[in-house]
């Protein structure tokens, strides 16, 4: 089965994987494929390479959907293809603004240093923002295929836990015991922990404790709402119609990342849809020696004057390419085997030229319609 027919039953696809494996390009190609098949597609991307962004018309500011004209590829296409770049700051601010009931509260939270550093520490809040946006889009009901390109996470779990992470800090009963939101000054620290607080403030300074107190106070009324929302987001992530695509390249750091996602997603009980090994080099493998090439070049192209050493440069280039292609093939087999063959695996070859327009994306899309599940190819 090809990737596109395999994925057709999902409503939401989440692409995960290490940085630099081509997730954004692949998200766009999967989106384009389904749009050409008549689906209403939205691709949410995080931080596309500049040329890719230009190729997709994403050079404007983020946060708004952009519709891509499919006429040049298919006349009278029933599907639509929207793509947007995530503006994580905007998503997070609006989340906080929704939660705060008064303007004064809003200002206080946005000015709270603990909140500022907290948001910074959440890896730019991109994971959180991406998932919030996804939730919004699903609720909006305008699309029947939503594809989410995720930021490269240091830890798979950071991404998967992001709906509950803010909640965890707000809801930490232990923390609430230490700092009872009430008055100002150190008096808010409950009697039993005064000594501990004293030593701690030696360590961090008292302002840090005060900032944390304010942060917790401001959010204390919102806990129920946050809990409800986090629960619903979690449900969406675990829905059977939400599929996860693990994207890797045939390179070590990417494969390690893929394996980490495989384990984390399985453990969390999410629906793993497929593994993609992207950017694998390919070359027709044909036995040849330097001598044979030299003879063929002389005989086969009598009218062409060969520069000095041309034959050996061409031969070395081919052998190098062949060597890398073989290594990539072996590595692809290796990662497929390591994921236990539990879900389909596809190999997408590397294109020679960088993608600078929609046709480049279309070229990849054609592979997605053509390449077959690779699990049968794995030697056990």
């Amino acid at each position: 089965m090809t990737m596109i027919s395999h994925l057709r039953n999902y409503q939401v696809l989440v692409l995960v994987g290490a940085g630099g494996v081509g997730k954004t390009t692949l998200a766009a190609a999967v989106g384009l494929s389904f749009a050409l098949r008549g689906r209403k597609v939205m691709v949410v991307t995080i931080d596309p390479a500049r040329r890719l962004a230009r190729a997709l018309g994403l050079h404007q500011i983020g946060g708004h959907p952009h519709r891509i004209d499919l006429d040049e590829l298919l006349e009278n296409c029933r599907g639509t293809f929207d793509i947007m770049m995530l503006d994580s700051g905007q998503v997070f601010r609006s989340l906080v603004e929704r939660a705060m009931t008064s303007e004064e509260q809003r200002q206080r939270i946005l000015n709270n240093r603990f909140f500022q550093r907290f948001t910074e520490a959440m890896s730019g809040t991109q994971e959180h923002a991406a998932i919030e946006k996804l939730f919004e889009l699903v609720a909006g009901d305008q699309y029947n295929m939503i594809i989410l390109d995720t930021p490269p996470s240091r830890h798979a779990l950071e991404f998967l836990n992001s709906p509950t992470r803010l909640l965890a800090v707000l809801d930490d009963a232990v923390l609430r015991w230490l700092i009872k939101p009430a008055t100002s000054g150190l008096s808010m620290i409950s009697f039993g922990s005064k000594y501990i607080a004293k030593v701690l403030s030696l360590f961090t300074g008292t302002e840090m404790l005060l900032d944390l107190t304010e942060f917790l106070t401001l959010f204390s009324d919102q806990l129920a709402g946050f809990r409800e929302r986090a629960f619903r987001v979690q449900q969406l992530l675990q829905d059977r119609q939400t599929g996860y695509m693990i994207v890797s390249s045939p390179e070590r750091h990417a494969m390690e990342g893929a394996l980490m996602f495989h384990r984390a997603l399985k453990k969390a009980g999410f629906a793993l849809s497929c593994l993609v090994i992207n950017r694998a080099w390919r070359v027709p493998d044909h036995p040849i020696t330097g001598d044979l090439l030299g003879r063929q070049l002389k005989k086969g192209f009598p009218e062409v004057k060969l520069p000095d050493g041309f034959s050996s440069r061409a031969y070395n280039a081919y052998m190098h390419r062949l060597n890398v292609a073989r290594i990539h093939h072996l590595k692809a087999q290796q990662i497929i085997a390591m994921t236990n063959l539990e879900y389909p695996a596809y190999i997408v070859p590397a294109l020679v030229d960088e993608i600078v327009n929609l046709s480049g994306i279309y070229e990849i899309s054609r592979f997605l319609f053509r390449e077959q599940d690779q699990r049968d190819q794995v030697l056990l």
């Binding site: 940085g19 910074e120 923390l175 230490l178 030696l202 062409v304 440069r313 280039a317 390419r321 590595k331």
Partner: protein, 306 residues
């Protein structure tokens, strides 16, 4: 290599760990006591060096080559003990559940204690008065987090609060800014995204932290050799209808590889022209399993350059 502290920064997957390990090998072989630091990372370096796993305890792997993988919990304990002096108090206070929860909630504290530990080793001396480590090489986290990591001392130093953290943060920030003691290298591949990331990182270092990066290292430069006249020859040959097999496959591949190589050279060029820093190219050592042999090859290259 004359700097005390060398920090290697770059996008994930560009080869920071490998290059850091190769640099450390070169430095140790020159007779300098060298500490190679990983930061709470999946330990790759022990595999490249073909040695036992590296943990949070400093270990001498071979003469003059010391390794450590700094983890926040251990660094926090060391740091706290410096502040509160007594192990007993540390146990009462810091191993308290409440306090643990609090420290986990203080953002960036774990980054600060890790960079604090690095600074400690820069200052550290042997009983003889000599520096314990003459060179410290840090395999930094991937760019985004790496920059956050490097900016934590400044953020903490700027905060209008008092206390030991601020004093310490200021001292670390001064170390990072001192070109006589610290060199921050930017590592990239000749590809669009890593190049853009390095350009942005360099701008951030200069504007926000007032740090001038020391050197650019472009990893995995293409091993394809070609001459300008090859392209025209290929065009002529590929235009011919009937080509002998397998020569046609070779010519096709050669043409594609030249095209790819030129794109990669253009990315390296863009980086060089934008940043105008000393630049070093490293070879592409694609292999099925990167091991000590490949590491030695890379070290040989660095030996000539550094």
């Amino acid at each position: 290599m004359s700097k005390r502290l060398i920090i290697n920064l770059g996008k994930g997957g560009v080869g920071k760990s490998v290059i850091s390990a190769a640099m450390a090998l070169v430095s140790a072989r020159r007779g300098l006591r060298t500490l190679l630091v990983q930061l709470h990372a999946k330990d790759r370096i022990s595999e490249y060096l073909e040695t036992n796993p590296i943990n949070e305890n400093i270990r001498e792997l071979q003469p003059n080559l010391f390794c450590v993988n700094i983890v926040p919990e251990a660094a926090m304990r060391e740091y706290a003990l410096i502040q509160v002096k007594l192990e007993v108090i540390y146990k009462v206070v810091f191993q308290n559940r409440v306090v643990k929860a609090f420290l986990n909630a203080v953002p960036a504290l774990s980054d600060l204690v890790m960079i604090g530990k690095i600074e400690f080793h820069v200052q550290e001396t042997l009983p003889s008065g000599e520096a314990r480590f003459e060179v410290i090489i840090v395999d930094a986290p991937p760019t985004g987090h790496g920059l956050f990591f490097l900016s934590v001392p400044k953020v903490m130093a700027d905060a209008d609060q008092t206390g030991p953290i601020k004093t310490h943060a200021l001292r670390i920030f001064e170390l990072l800014q001192d070109p006589g003691r610290c060199a921050i290298n930017l590592i990239s591949l000749p590809e669009e995204m890593p190049v853009s990331e390095v350009i942005d990182a360099s701008a951030y270092l200069e504007k926000e932290l007032h740090i001038q990066p020391a050197m650019l290292l472009i990893n995995r430069c293409s091993p394809i050799e070609f001459k300008p006249e090859d392209e025209e020859t290929l065009n002529q040959m590929l235009r011919i209808d009937k080509k002998p097999r397998p020569a046609d496959l070779v010519l096709q591949a050669f043409q594609e590889d030249i095209s790819r190589t030129k794109q990669r050279m253009a990315h390296a060029q863009r980086l060089y022209e934008t940043l105008a820093l000393p630049m070093v190219s490293l070879p592409d050592l694609t292999s099925f399993r990167f091991s000590r042999a490949e590491l030695e090859e890379l070290a040989e290259h660095l030996e000539e350059i550094l």
